[in-house]
């Protein structure tokens, strides 16, 4: 091709600055390595550990790919995410469930996703945090489903490489990123603005999303107090504006009916393929219990959900073995308490499912 002269946007010759690049490169790499080691020790000192995986959409998508055939799948929000220990469940039942719960997210979108998947014929354990379950949108991490459907080969490869590094370095965690550190910096509040709802790290994940409450939440009193404060902020920020009587408006019956109808339709699809669905409520206490039970009375929400979908429902309030476990910050079981809880709830679940199957067979 002939060289163009008169309309070339610019000469593409790239000058290289005249420096001792070899020495500069070695110095920069060495200094970065030293700083990185220091950074790693700093975060290990704060309780971070290697092999605590980031709770990313890619990790969720990896688990979602395992939710096929006759797999047992857990969906829900943070209570069941942190509260069921997969190792203990497997010990107790011989079955290792796939953990698909995501914090702050309604399980209804995951139930719909599984119901629409013709390859899924297994059991679904739905963790019900009533305000989230009956919420009007998918919640905090609803985008995970779209990510799973649209995940590109480069994103999968990136995730595979990232997991290798997360197995080595403790500092690779959402909490340690400069952006996150700036976001949680306790800056003064501008006049008229609500306090920011942005909870710090709460969970510790294994590669297969087997998750427990991060140890520091239970051992560091300041950290724990801040976590509780955050729940109050979140509850206040998300509360609907009060009605004419000054009280928060109750959810209309029609809206509850619609949710139960939607859930029932999805359950039917899964049952038509030979699968089944059961509901679980995990324990909560303190300020959360007062707020949640007042705004979402059991008879209007939980009882109707279980009855009208003709499902097994295991509420911690109904079984002595599921009560008295250590709930760290009103909403989540401490790691060892979660193991005990799992040990107690697994046989209750299988017994209830067996009983329900017998009842259905007798009809």
């Amino acid at each position: 091709m002939t060289k163009l002269a008169y309309f070339d946007p610019e000469d593409v010759h790239r000058p290289t600055p005249d420096r001792n690049w070899r020495a500069l490169a070695l110095a920069a790499i060495a200094a970065t390595a030293i700083l990185t080691v220091g950074w790693e020790f700093f975060w290990r000192g704060k309780g971070m550990t290697a092999g605590d995986f980031k709770n990313t959409e890619a990790l969720w998508a990896e688990a979602r790919r395992k939710a096929t055939g006759d797999a047992t799948v857990i969906i829900g929000s943070s209570r069941i995410f942190f509260g069921i220990d997969l190792d203990v469940w497997e010990e107790a039942s011989g079955v290792r469930p796939v953990q698909l719960a995501l914090e702050g997210t309604s399980p209804r979108i995951f139930l719909k996703d599984l119901a629409e998947d013709p390859d899924f014929k297994g059991q679904v354990i739905v963790g019900v945090t009533v305000p989230l379950f009956f919420g009007t949108d998918g919640g905090l991490r609803a985008a995970a489903i779209k990510y799973h459907r649209d995940e590109t080969p480069s994103q999968r490869l990136d995730h595979a490489l990232s997991k290798q590094l997360e197995g080595i370095f403790a500092f690779i965690d959402e909490q340690t990123r400069p952006k996150r550190q700036v976001a949680i910096w306790p800056a003064p509040l501008r006049e008229g603005m609500k306090p920011r709802f942005s909870p710090r790290k709460l969970e510790s994940l294994k590669a297969d999303r087997n998750t427990e409450l991060w140890a520091r939440v239970a051992t560091d009193e300041r950290y724990l107090a801040e976590a509780k404060q955050q729940w109050l902020v979140g509850t206040k920020n998300n509360a609907p504006p009060p009605g004419p009587d000054g009280k928060p408006p109750a959810m209309p019956d029609a809206a509850i009916d619609a949710v139960i109808a939607e859930v029932g339709a999805n359950i039917k699809k899964i049952r038509a393929r030979g699968g089944d669905v059961a509901f679980m409520r995990l324990p909560y206490d303190g300020a959360y219990a007062a707020l949640e039970d007042a705004a979402f009375p059991r008879a209007r929400f939980w009882d109707r959900l279980v009855k009208e979908t003709d499902s097994v429902g295991i509420a911690w309030q109904d079984h002595a073995a599921l009560q008295g476990h250590y709930i760290v910050e009103w909403s989540h079981l401490e790691a060892r308490a979660a193991e005990d809880y799992t040990r107690a709830v697994a046989p209750i679940y299988y017994e209830a499912m067996k009983k329900k199957a017998a009842e259905n067979a007798a009809r």
Binding site: M1, R22, P153
Partner: protein, 465 residues
Amino acid sequence: MVFFAIVVALHHAPLSWRVKKINLLLASLIFYGAWSPPFVLLLLFSTVVDWFAARWIHGATSKARRRAFLLLSLAGNLGLLGYFKYGEFLLENFTHLLNAAGVAYKAPEWNIILPVGISFYTFETLAYTLDIYLRRAAPGKSFLDFALFVTFFPQLVAGPIVRPSQLVPQFAEPKRATRPQFCWGLALIIIGLFEKVVLADSFLAPAADGAFGHKGALAPLDAWTGVLAFSGQIFFDFSGYSTTAIGTALCLGFALPNNFRFPYAAIGFSDFWRRWHISLSTWLRDYLYIPLGGNQKGRLRTYANLMITMLLGGLWHGASWTFVIWGGLHGLYLAVERFLREAMPARDFYKSLWFRVAMALLTYFLVNITWVFFRAEGFSEATLFLASMFAMAPKPDRVLYWNSILPAAIVIAGMVFTHWRMRSTTLESVVEKTPAWLIGAVLTFMLFMLVITQGSDSAFIYFQF
């Protein structure tokens, strides 16, 4: 990084130049396929159509045949763009028109995914056939070189929009980076990634997303912080990609052109467009503005040509009227600037520092007005945002925390100051004059920040264009 390391290793392996080029071509196709494998076929389609169209144009004996083969190339490239990028937009507007005319019509759902980088590579291949048609160049001799030019992975998905004349000749002879070139290429990659991952994503995106994501009126501080943060976010995001692409190519021994030259130090809009997305502005100049007649057909035609060029330049960014308005505003600014330059007599104070600084700040201010249309979801959101900036919106909300405002303010102040200081120089010459310890410290800081930031939250903004 692993992909790049494998490509560099193969490029430095003792293989023939032809085998190395085939390696680069395959690597580029794998790179593109990593987003969406089926769209590799579109890329190959565009490559093959333009390769043959250009040869047929060159060999055609009549004007009509030349025109017919050019139309084939235009139909192939613009057809791809029209279907994948503008199909939904056209259908929506067609539906609105019918409905306005009283015809009850409901458009079918349009679920077409936009192939990444389609606007970039279609413009590159179009430049090839247009050069041949306009007799500015002869067809290339090697299909391999041409295919590598179209698919060359560093610039494939978000530019710079490289011309055939800039890159194809570089594939003719064996290329391998010297050690200084390789190290400088790595330094450019670090700088580019730092711009994107640290500055754009970590420190500017929270303010820009927080302000533009709010449904409703904003307090002036929030609106101004949002738009200024976006001006930095879009610059660091796009300039970061271009710089990384240039560094990557340099590590392999190839030179790509600059795409940015400290644009927020521009004095006036003709200066701005010589500094912002240079590869697009020169493409539009050479293949649209000049063929339309440029400034050679009278004053009114010049203004009209400027407007047409910038309106289409806006539409290039996306299928939305807000992009058209963005382009239209830039066209208007260019036309007004041209008018003022011709109408106002030269004065000595035009060269004074205070006047130049004032004009640069005025340019930056007016550019920020256009960014509102570029970033807002729609026209009504953009007008509400503008009203918020000038304290004219009812019931404004405060939505940004100091955690977002302060980092954005610091980075924006640093960016504008740096652009002004670097206005008349280049990065290379500054690096050459700076003490070695300071260069080492800056590179270490950037590399360390990249390590602890742990990657990006989002794709490059320009991937969607």
